[in-house]
Every structure is written in C-alpha cells, then in structure tokens.
Point group: C2
Chain length 155, copies 2
C-alpha cells in the first residue's frame, strides 16, 4: 500500500527526539512519555535502531540512547532497513538477486515484462530514500518537550 509502517514512524519520531537532545542520554521511557506512546513499542524500536548502529545504547541505571552518527548521515533508507530488517522493495521480484524471476507475480513462461521498468522505479525510490536524512526532521518550528513541564489542558 506504499505506506511507512508505524514502527518506521516511531523510529523517525524517536530519532528526531534524540537528535534534538544533542548528546544527552535519553531513556526509552522519556521518549515514550513525550510522544504519548507505549514504552514497550518505543523500547523495541530503539533496540532495532541500536542493533543496526544508528544509535548507541547504554544499559543500566542512568542509561539510555544517543545518536551514533550525525543526523545528516542517517538516511530514511537506513531507518527503514534497520526497522524492517531489509531494504524497501516495491515488488518482490526486484531484489537484485532474482535472475530467474522466481518471485514475479506474473507466472509467464517467458521473462517478467515489468521487471526492467520496475528496477528503474526501485532505483529512483532508493535514491529518494537515501537523500532524505534525520537532519531534514530537525529544526521543526513547533517542538515541545513535555517531560520538562506539567501539561495543563484548557477547557
């Protein structure tokens, strides 16, 4: 359906939050609270980002996470790969390592007739995903760190 998964969304929100803290160790709970999301989900997302080297994790009391790479070097492509476990693939057969079209949706005896154009589209998509970085998510005009102050809602 050409949509980012929630996990990818949470990863971007988390990376943005961590980047905005610039070097300060941020525990998963703080991020979860700030975003109004469940701790378990955020913890799992952060774990994946850590395992893939995008952020650094410090265990134990006073531990937390911080960026491992500068924001402009963390691409959307990197985030997706870290969260999904593999790079984005618009169609199954465009995996690079499928010369026999084994994964093609069309079960024609000849070669798949859309593989070539699909490969080009995939390349364009990859270029786009690589060109966007966490830096593009910083300096958003409106940004409140809810953990710093109590929240009052006017009625």
């Amino acid at each position: 359906m050409l949509r980012f998964t929630k996990k990818t969304e949470y990863a971007l929100l988390s990376l943005q939050y961590i980047a905005n803290k610039e070097g300060i160790l941020v525990p998963a709970k703080e991020i979860a609270d700030a975003l109004g999301l469940s701790f378990e989900i955020i913890a799992k997302v952060l774990h994946l980002l850590g395992k893939n080297g995008l952020i650094q994790s410090i265990q134990g009391a006073q531990g937390g996470y911080l960026l491992n790479i500068e924001p402009k070097k963390i691409s959307l492509s990197d985030v997706i790969t870290a969260i999904e476990g593999k790079p984005s693939q618009l169609v199954e057969c465009v995996s690079g390592d499928d010369p026999d079209d084994t994964n093609c949706s069309c079960t024609v005896y000849s070669n798949c007739t859309i593989k070539d154009p699909m490969t080009i589209i995939q390349k364009k998509m990859d270029e786009m995903l690589q060109s966007i970085t966490i830096q593009d998510f910083l300096n958003t005009p409106i940004y409140h760190t809810l953990s710093d102050s109590s929240v009052t809602i006017d009625l």
Copy 2:
C-alpha cells in the same frame, strides 16, 4: 512496508499488455491467460481501471478493453489511485485535510513533530509517481504474446 500491492502490479502488467495491442479490443481472459493469472483477479483490476477512466470497456460478446488515454498520460500515480481508491499516503496524517493531526501516530498534545518533513517527503513521492507513465513500461526487449502460439518447454 512500502510495497506495491499485487493488484497494482497486475494493473501495470495489464495496461502494458493492452498498450502493446494498440487499439485492438482485448478481453480480460486473454490477459489473464497471457500472464498466467486468474481471470477473476484480472477482471476485477480491469474493472477498476475502467471505472476510473484509464481504459475503456466494451461489454458483450467480442467486447473487451482498450486504452482510453495515451500511455504517456497514464501515470503510476493514476494507476495506484484507481486501484486503491485513493492516492498513496506514506503516513496517515499527511492527508492534506487533517489540520488537527487527528490521524497522527504520536498522541502528543502539541502538534505532530514530523508532519512538516513528512509532507515534503510525500510531495517528492507524488512527483516521482506522477513522472512515471505506462510509456515507461512499453518497448521492453523481451515480450511474448502467448495467446498467439502454443508454448513448448524444452527439457
């Protein structure tokens, strides 16, 4: 997961097939057979393409489908919209008509912090999807119309 649905894939294969026939009425069964896919699926996809004006449908015996617009004017964006019923949306909240972030994944009281960059990414994606047309799927070097001849498989 950032992947085209099978229906979208089938739509592209079908449009490519119809375009290659240049003006000749093509019944759904012929396309299904040529692609080795079920008639019902192809019929459903073609119906959606017809309902959205991308192809013209002629009912009854000797009926079938033919392009309604020239290949270079049918964009990938058009195909997705026709098949999915709405344009592609990378995230829920980037719908244009959601000023209150009602559909945002982050349930922060303030505004969503990734909405602005996401809107830009969505725009880039849209531009890409609009720049690719069915014309880009034509003139593929290898193309066999299986319906025209019997198929022999060498062992």
